[in-house]
């Protein structure tokens, strides 16, 4: 099994094997997505950055999109795979609209569909390189779930992807409550996003927050968080470090 693809003059040189068609590494990636359930529904936050390796190349990528009337999908990982997933979901929602028979896809159905897709791709060693967060409200029921690129899928009251797992979830574990109001929920998410902004090198200070309630799904306009860089630990990082004087 070869693991390299040579591209010369726009054609693949070593393409005799199907290997060359499989996803091997991600190229343009998005960083963390954080989401919580709150009193009236679900809130999700993500920044608008797309990194090309260590370069922060794209700064206007919307990593959260509404699906149908009831759900919202946020993704971290390969942006082109996210766009592919949106295409699949588009077909599903168009089908629903075409029938126009009073049935619509709810967040649970979308989440399960995505789980099937992600897991099947993983089984073929050709994953969609994303961790997806699916939230929504249908018939009064709040739903928040996650699917990873290997098909691991679950629901929870608060989820985060990538670095968010390490930096945001501890905050959420301490401070999340069932009856958070909208402003409290946004403040909690902003607290998580601020920590990620300080500590995740692929995060940028341009984020969106999405709200899902029984009425519908909305994504806010992009905005930035206030940051403070004059902490002593930032200005003088090595003072008091191990082995220093």
């Amino acid at each position: 099994m070869t693991f390299t693809i040579q591209i010369e003059n726009g054609t693949e040189v070593r393409n005799a094997e199907a290997d060359s068609q499989r996803t091997l590494y991600p190229y343009v990636t998005g960083t963390s997505v954080v989401a919580i359930k709150y009193k009236d529904g679900v809130l999700m936050a993500s920044d608008m950055g797309g990194s090309y390796g260590s370069t922060l190349r794209y700064k206007n990528i919307e990593r959260m999109k509404a699906i149908g009337k009831h759900s919202l999908l946020g993704a971290s990982g390969e942006i082109s795979d996210f766009q592919e997933i949106l295409r699949y979901l588009d077909e599903l929602t168009l089908n629903d609209n075409m029938w126009d028979d009073g049935n619509s896809l709810g967040p649970k159905e979308v989440h399960n569909y995505l789980t099937r897709v992600m897991y099947n791709r993983r089984n073929k060693f050709n994953p969609l390189w994303n961790t997806l967060v699916l939230g929504g409200v249908k018939n009064g029921e709040k739903y928040l779930g996650m699917v990873s690129m290997i098909g691991v899928s679950f629901e929870d009251n608060h989820v985060a992807t990538g670095f968010g797992n390490h930096l945001a979830r501890p905050i959420l574990r301490d401070e999340w409550r069932e009856d958070l109001g909208f402003e409290e929920g946004v403040k909690l998410l902003e607290k998580c996003m601020r920590v990620l902004l300080y500590r995740d090198r692929s995060a940028i200070n341009k984020l969106q927050i999405a709200k899902m309630t029984e009425e519908g799904v909305t994504v806010s306009e992009p905005y930035s968080l206030k940051t403070f860089w004059e902490f002593k630990a930032f200005t003088n990082p090595t003072v008091g470090a191990e082995g220093s004087w």
Partner: protein
């Protein structure tokens, strides 16, 4: 219906724009023994007459569970009905697996209808000879559909198919306006009374019919003989009196009136082909 030169092939039109093979397939449905469906806002009841080939054999199964929330009653070629039930079960379970959520009835009957239509447009196939009463519950409420061999489907408040179903339909037509708000018990009672209409004089016993129910918080299941007999007892006790128990032509001990009403499964049961029930 008489033989004519356009009825050999399903892919041959008649000059008057008819596909005779498809119409003959619908005749097969009329030969099967009766099946009845009714629905209210929250429940669907499917009932059928049990006919056995002979005294020695057990009766044919005509009602099938497709999923917890969908059931189907058939009339016509039972083999075709069994195959289509298997298809419906398959579609339903595949949907549940992918979406973790029950398939809506309307979408299922469309797939069924499209499958039937294919058989009306291939020279190497024949139409399915079975009519299906599909009853189910989904997000948009309780539904009852009738799928026929032509590939058409219709939604009904109540319907009856098979031999002597006209009698049942007459009964249902008189009462259907009350069905939407009916209680579960009343709906079951109406179904059994409609079945009685198709028996035309034969005493109604619980062994003669099969009844199934599904509803909100009540997955599809069959009623046991005892429950059916209890319902029968509430109205069979008064043979002469005319209550709201339908036309009340209940002559319980009279000799079974051989009432073949014209086109409805015209000849008696002796002429029913063995494969049709």
């Amino acid at each position: 219906m008489f033989r004519n030169q356009y009825d050999t092939d399903v892919t041959t039109w008649s000059p008057t724009g008819r596909l005779f093979q498809v119409e003959y397939a619908m005749e097969a449905v009329k030969q099967g023994s009766a099946a009845i469906g009714l629905r209210s806002r929250s429940h669907v009841v499917l009932a059928c007459v049990n006919k056995a080939q002979s005294e020695l054999s057990s009766h044919q199964r005509k009602i099938f569970k497709v999923d917890d929330h969908i059931g189907v009653a058939i009339a016509g070629l039972t083999a075709d009905g069994r195959v289509l039930s298997r298809y419906m079960r398959s579609e339903s379970i595949n949907h549940s697996f992918t979406y973790e959520s029950p398939l809506s009835v309307g979408r299922l009957v469309v797939r069924l209808a499209d499958k039937a239509q294919v058989c009306t447009q291939r020279s190497w196939k024949r139409p399915y000879g079975v009519g299906l009463l599909v009853g189910g519950l989904d997000e948009s409420g309780a539904h009852l559909y009738y799928n026929c061999p032509s590939g058409n489907y219709f939604e009904y408040q109540a319907f009856a198919i098979g031999s002597r179903s006209q009698a049942a339909k007459t009964y249902l037509e008189r009462r259907y306006e009350s069905f939407q708000e009916s209680s579960r018990e009343d709906l079951i009672k109406d179904a059994i009374m409609a079945i009685r209409e198709t028996l035309q004089g034969e005493t109604l016993k619980s062994s003669l019919c099969t009844v199934s129910v599904l509803g909100l918080e009540e997955p599809f299941h069959f009623l046991d003989q005892e429950s059916i007999q209890k319902v029968i007892d509430t109205f069979e006790k008064v043979p002469e009196e005319e209550e709201d128990a339908g036309e009340g032509e209940a002559e319980p001990e009279a000799a079974p009136v051989a009432a073949g009403t014209g086109e409805q499964g015209g000849s008696g049961d002796q002429d029913v082909a063995p494969m049709e029930m």
